[in-house]
Structure formats: C-alpha cells, structure tokens
Symmetry: C2
C-alpha cells in the first residue's frame, strides 16, 4: 500500500496504538501539539519535535540561512505556545549536504541563536551528520506548563467560539509570492517575511491558558482547514467557519486583488501562520476577547463556532454554505 | 570554507559557544552522550537525539526494516546507558521517500516498538513527513538518572584504567561483510547481526554508574579511536591502548583470518559497537571488574590506561608503539 493512499494523518492513525498503550496518569502521547509528562509538582514537561526537509518544507535558495534557522526553532516554540507552556531548551539535529559551507551554517545558527536568546531558550544538544541529498533539520524543544493550565485539542464543545490570535494567510501568500516569482515590493516583502519569520504566539498562549473558559488550543501550522479537523477528531465535534470573519492583513487583501488570488482560501488553507486557534466558551468569549485586545493591542478574532460531530467542517460566506477548492496541507497527499 | 575542512568535531566546536553560555547549575549541554537537566530532587533528566540518514548511516536494501527500527532506538538508548541512566520515553521524526510503502513502515515500527517494550520505554510523539530523497530517521529519548550517579566524559584522570563492557569490532566487521558482499554463513551472520541489532548496555551502565571509582563513561559509537579522543578532550588527558587487550569475538577473529582483515584496526575504528567505555580508578578496578564478571557473566576488559594530556592517544602492540591506518568515523571527513 502506498503512503499517498492513506495520507499523513492516516499514517499517524495507523501507527498510533503502540504510542498510546499503557500511558500512566497525566501522560499525553501523540495527538496533540506536544507530549505532556508529569514533571515537578507545579509543572508538566512538554515535548515537541519537528522535522524540516529541503524541497518539502522550504526551498533553500529562496530562504536566507538566518531566516531558516529562526523558523526551524519558531515552529517548535509555536507547539509549546499551543499548550500554554514556556519553552526551556532546544535540541538540534542537522543533516548537511556537501554544497553547504561553514559560512552558511554560521548564519543558520545565528538565526536559531537569536530567537533562542530572545525567548530565553537554551540550546542544549543535538546531532550533526552529512546528508547525501536534501538539507534536513530536526529540532526538539522541552518546555514547562502549570498542570492546571495546560490546554489540549480535546476540550472543544458544541457552541464554543472558534477564535484566532492573529492574521491568517500571510505566510501562505508569502510562499505563493516566492513560488510565482513576484517582485518583492512592499506588500510582497511583508508577506514573504511572515512566511520566513513567523512569530510563535508564546505570550498569547500562556495568557489564554490561564483563562477559565478557553476549552482547547492548537497552533495554526497546516492551515485552519486541516488544523480544525484535528480539533474535531480529538474533541469529537464539528465546526462551522464564516470565511468573511477570517482576519486578513491589508497586504494580503491587496496582493489577492493584484494577483487574482482567493484570499479566503489562502487564509483557510495556506498554513504556517503559527498564530493560535483558541476555542472559548460563549459565555466567557466577550470578556476574554476584550481583555486580549487590551493586553495585546490586537483582536482575538471570532471565526466560527464548534458544532456537533455529524455536522463535520463547514464553511459559510455571507451566511451561505460554500466549499473550499484547496485543502490544508497533507505531506503525503 | 567547506565542512570537510573542519570535520564533524570541528563543526561541533565551532557552534558550541552559544550552546554552553549561561547554563544554570547542574545543566550540561553539548559535549557528552546526553544533555543533563536538573529535574526532580532525586532525578536528573537526560536528553539525547540521533539523526540517521539513508546511505550515510545505513544502506536500506541491506537492512530489514524491523532491524532498522530496532537500531534507530538502540543507538539512543546507548547514550542514556553511557550516563548511567534509565530511558523513559522516545520521540520519532521520520522523513519517508515515495518508494517506501506502508508494509515497510509496519515492520520498521515493529522494530522500534519491540525494543521500546523490552526496555520499558514509552513512544510519546514525533513527526512524519515526506522526503524527496533519502529516508531520514530522528529519534530523541528522555531518561532519568540519580544526580549522585550520573557519569560524564570529563572525569578521567591519568593512571585510571580504560575498560570496555563488551566485544569491539563485531559491528564494523558486520558492515564490512555487507559492503564486500560476503556470503552470510555462521560467523558472517553473527557479525551482521551485531551490526543490525546492537544491544544498548543499559544494565551495565546503571550498574557501573552506582560504583564509586568509575570516573567517566561513554558509549562506543564511532569506535574507540574516535570516542577516546572525546573523553581526552573533556577530561584533559591522554590515553594509551594495548591493542592485544581489545576484546575480540571468536567470529571476528575467524573472519579476520579468512578475509585478511586487521582485527585490531576493525576493533579500534569500526564503530557502532554500543558497548560502554568505562574509566575506572586503578585502586578500585580489580574489585569492580570481578563483581562485573559475577554480575554479567562476561569480563569488564581492561584495554589501556589514561595518561597525561601531552601524551595524546597512543597504541601499543606487544608493548611497542604502533599507528593505526584507519581512524574513527567522522561524518564530514
């Protein structure tokens, strides 16, 4: 059987059982943004790991090595943010092809180190090896979270509000700018920068995790079209999204008009935004969103509601049902 | 500057400073088999990660997928063994080329799962992605160790005995059997099996770590010729090895005669034996070696002594200085 027949999530489902067997109380294995292990009395340990492979996750000639280093760490920090945690230490494995030189690696490490220092993350180890083909980067991050505050994908309930902590689609549009070789002017530059230097919403995640009424969290990595399905699976629910409520940046709107892109599809399926999906009880949403706005100077944007499981994932535009042409990212699709 | 100009260990040295800056008390970053983090009062957390890339670390058509899964985990468990620790949980990232099918992955996971179950290690997470080129496997393992028992590479002192917990060279000879396409009869089969299914010396490591007088430990991954240099660097010492004291298995001796291999060079430079190098105070060695023999039914073999730093790494055969032709493995050499 070919992998493309079952897809990335089919593969994960197929190989999940041994990962989930005999877990002690409090331990969470695969199925969430991080694994969770009881640690000290006042802290759970969070563990996440991400593998980035050249020509699958990035195009080397299109990215500055410093940006690539930054992003390789940022995507892992985003997983920690999604659980409401604080990242502590990072481990880097790198497989280096022969056409990469020491100066390239200097810049790559500077990108990792700069972000690590800014977020107070210690680089504690890793592995280096030669690669006969693509550049391969694997980063693992350990973090901590208060046991009472850790947020899972599994807590969403019908009627809960679906919200996001930042713009959607900028990163996907930036990738499209690169692939279509668009000239890098103001808007295009902004979009490419969002693609190359995504910000992990660590402060937002920790703040939301401390709020009663936030029932589930996840980071937006594959695009909400894919990511919401993960929340639906884990929570046993459906979801209804109002496309006109997806928060779009002004540069994305202008680029969409200029190049004839569908901005809603880009926002729902582009992926790699690395803001957070926060699912919130409706009786608490108004207060939390207002406090979020005061705290972060930007809205916690409502984009839809959690529905019952048999409803599946539905999109609406102007109140009417619509279907998306593009779907969220599947590595084996 | 090309990576081959500075080599794997030059690369690690070049990028070490940010990894070693501002570490809190008790935290050990790169430079040992595992990173060490203070954890609970009675346990330090050990973290290790290894990246294996097709055609660099293994030849896919030469290895059964189940063996490859087993070995991918075993090499990480060996790092935990080298610190005297107990492995607890494992995280797998895998980059899968399109010519690998689901049945192959089934077998690969069975290999990981079988060893994980045997050693009571929980598989808690990871990442899956497509690879445009080689199969890429990254495993990270978390373990625990009693703070008073953790063993580092840095404790060796001149006059200490250098010993190993198992045969050297079997794995390197097994690889040579595969590369030279030798017929897989009894001895060859044994050697290839040692190459494909190395045993992490977890029980030996934990036992040795509890013994007063064991001053340093490390696992034999690149071959003692390379691995002893790591201990020398970290401990600020030299080493003198008596080649005739390297413990050789009967199959290795017979294969060396049959194929005209130098068994001492294979034993010193072959790598991937994954037994342990234990450095022991001379006044304690006799008692510890005798107890080791009773406990494990095999010798703790003395292979040389730690010397002063200016002596470097020296080999002797029949008491006379000799030089090795082959050297330990360097991924960028």
């Amino acid at each position: 059987m070919r992998l493309s027949d079952i897809g990335e999530f089919g593969l994960i489902r197929r190989f999940s059982p041994p990962f989930l067997r005999n877990l002690p109380a409090g331990v969470v294995g695969i199925g969430d943004d991080c694994a969770v292990l009881p640690w000290k009395g006042n802290a759970h340990l969070l563990v996440t790991t991400d593998m980035l492979i050249e020509d699958i996750h990035f195009i080397r000639v299109k990215a500055a090595p410093r940006d690539l280093g930054y992003k390789s760490l940022a995507v892992n920090l985003s997983d920690i943010a999604a659980m409401g945690g604080t990242p502590r230490s990072a481990f880097l494995s790198i497989g280096v092809p022969s056409d990469i030189n020491v100066e390239w690696l200097d810049e790559f490490f500077r990108g990792i180190e700069g972000l690590a220092r800014a977020e107070n993350v210690r680089l504690l180890g890793g592995d280096t090896t030669k690669s006969p083909g693509p550049l391969v980067i694997n980063i693992g991050v350990l973090g901590g979270v208060h046991p009472a505050r850790v947020k899972y994908r599994s807590g969403a309930k019908p009627g809960n509000i679906i919200s996001v902590t930042g713009f959607l689609g900028d990163s996907g549009a930036g990738l499209r700018v690169l692939i279509e070789n668009r000239p890098l002017k103001g808007d295009e530059k902004y979009l490419v920068r969002q693609h190359h230097r995504p910000r992990a919403h660590l402060a937002e995640g920790a703040w939301l995790a401390a709020k009663e009424g936030v029932t589930a969290m996840m980071d937006v990595s594959d695009g909400i079209d894919s990511d919401l399905r993960r929340i639906m699976e884990r929570s046993g629910c459906g979801a209804s999204v109002d496309l006109e409520d997806l928060p779009l940046s002004a540069p994305l709107k202008r680029a969409a008009i200029k190049y004839g892109w569908n901005p809603f599809e880009t926002a729902a399926s582009g992926g790699e935004d690395y803001c957070l999906l926060a699912i919130v009880r409706p009786d608490r949403f108004g207060k939390i969103a207002a406090a979020f706005g005061r705290k972060f100077g930007r809205p916690l944007s409502k984009i839809g509601v959690i529905t019952r499981v048999h409803e599946g994932l539905k999109y609406r535009l102007g109140g009417k049902p619509v279907t998306l042409k593009r779907h969220g990212f599947d590595h084996f699709g």
